[in-house]
């Protein structure tokens, strides 16, 4: 009995020491980690809206859900860029769900007039050497979205060339670019329908920004 208690006390002591250590390190690093995470988001947004370098854009964001445009129950984050209070552009972070291997997370900047400011791929698990040409580091394909809108090309041409659309597919990989093109088109349609509500909605407080 006594030896059991002693074992329990020893194990408890180990757990307590571990917890104290973790609490201390967490306390020391929390601010720095939060700053690093903000920097990463800011760098991503900055590729689409260069003037995003001021922090205000980061906090002017809302989260929406809409199964029709963003399937599989995604939480879509929307940052709103304004020019002296006037809507300038919205940046949507959403997933293309019918890629070759899992979700492709995209960032799309849409101007107030409905044209695309730019699209970037944040993360994906597509095949290296084939589907990964959607990355801006690997090819310029994704830059082709800039300036496009639902009128240019016409709605029914928002697909890859193999399906009679406007956008190039890659050699050996049609599924990946098709998934991206379709998801971007849906995002544009969502923006077209909800634009005014999106810019009017009050920004989320940063306290609720946890993942």
């Amino acid at each position: 009995m006594r030896s059991m208690l002693r074992s329990a006390a020893a194990l408890g002591l180990v757990a307590l020491t571990g917890t104290a250590l973790l609490a201390g390190v967490d306390f020391m690093t929390a601010d720095r980690i939060a700053a690093q995470e903000r920097r990463v988001v800011l760098e991503q947004l900055g590729q689409i809206v260069p003037q995003a370098s001021d922090d205000s854009l980061l906090d002017d964001k809302i989260t929406v859900k809409d199964e029709r445009f963003f399937p599989n129950g995604q939480q879509v984050t929307i940052w709103r860029a304004r020019d002296h209070g006037k809507p300038l552009a919205a940046i949507l972070k959403f997933n293309a769900v019918n890629g070759y291997n899992g979700d492709i997370t995209l960032l799309a900047g849409i101007n107030a007039n409905g044209s695309l400011r730019g699209v970037r791929v944040i993360s994906h698990k597509e095949t290296p050497g084939l589907g990964d040409a959607i990355e801006v580091e690997k090819s310029s394909w994704v830059l082709g979205f800039s300036g496009k809108s639902l009128e240019n090309p016409a709605r029914e041409r928002w697909s890859v060339k193999r399906e009679g659309g406007e956008f190039d597919q890659f050699t050996g990989a049609t599924i990946t670019p098709r998934a991206v093109v379709h998801a971007v088109r849906l995002a544009l349609e969502y923006f077209e329908m909800h634009q005014e509500v999106l810019f009017a909605a009050p920004a989320e407080t940063s306290g609720s920004s946890g993942q």
Binding site: S3, S7, A10, L11, V14, L21, T29, R32, Q36, V40
Partner: protein
């Protein structure tokens, strides 16, 4: 056991990656480039050093019936501390290695060293054992990473800036110019084939060394007349 023996065991005779074959999941998954390999290898080495030290220090309190849960708590704490530090100071590399940092906890090599070495030895030899085992694992990772990166992409040390900041860009070497890329080496099958080749190479070298030693011994034994 001398420190020299501890080192030859960790680096060569009992190499975690190539002989004992523990921790294959991270070894195979993260060895697609040298930089990823170094990142995970160093993180694993640090984990081994600190978990061995902690286990060795806690040795008097660790009765047999609680030793396994105690190891788990110690290793999980050490890995979480490393994860937090990495998130704070090597954020971009952390994003690349992602899930494989917390998964260091499940690398059986670490609990293996805690049980078979640190729980029976004083703190200093335990630290050295953790260092040797970790470096051995790191070496296997880097060898496999270099093999796969050269064959798969024709480069070495690409994306070194993830670890070393801006000056890391200059570390990148192009080994095979205009390499069209060899997808198999980058994809999971390449990891298995590459590991097989490395193990075969190590065994071949080992056999040759043993042969040479035998030959030397034969020569040096005095002939009976």
């Amino acid at each position: 056991m001398t420190y020299r023996e501890i080192f030859t065991n960790g680096l060569w005779k009992q190499n975690t990656g190539l002989v004992v074959l523990l921790g294959l999941c991270p070894l195979l998954a993260v060895s697609n480039t040298v930089v990823n390999a170094i990142g995970l290898g160093l993180a694993t080495t640090l984990t081994l050093v600190f978990s061995n030290l902690a286990v060795s220090l806690a040795r008097p309190a660790l009765r047999p019936e609680i030793r396994i849960p105690a190891y788990v708590i110690i290793i999980a704490s050490v890995v979480t501390v490393l994860q937090l530090l990495m998130q704070a100071w090597f954020h971009d590399l952390y994003l690349v290695l992602g899930i494989f940092i917390p998964l260091i906890v499940t690398n059986c090599a670490i609990i293996g060293r805690a049980e078979s070495f640190a729980s029976r030895n004083r703190p200093l030899p335990s630290i050295v054992d953790g260092l040797a085992t970790g470096l051995g694992f790191c070496l296997a990772l880097v060898a496999l990473g270099a093999l796969r990166e050269i064959i798969g992409k024709g480069t070495l040390m690409s994306h070194a800036s993830l670890m070393f900041g801006a000056w890391g860009e200059s570390l990148q070497l192009t080994v095979i110019p205009d390499h069209p890329g060899f997808l198999l080496a980058i994809l999971p099958p390449g990891a298995f084939i590459g590991l097989g080749l490395l193990i075969a190479g190590r065994n071949w070298l080992d056999a040759r060394l043993a042969q040479n030693r035998q030959a030397l011994q034969l020569e040096s034994t005095p002939h009976e007349t």
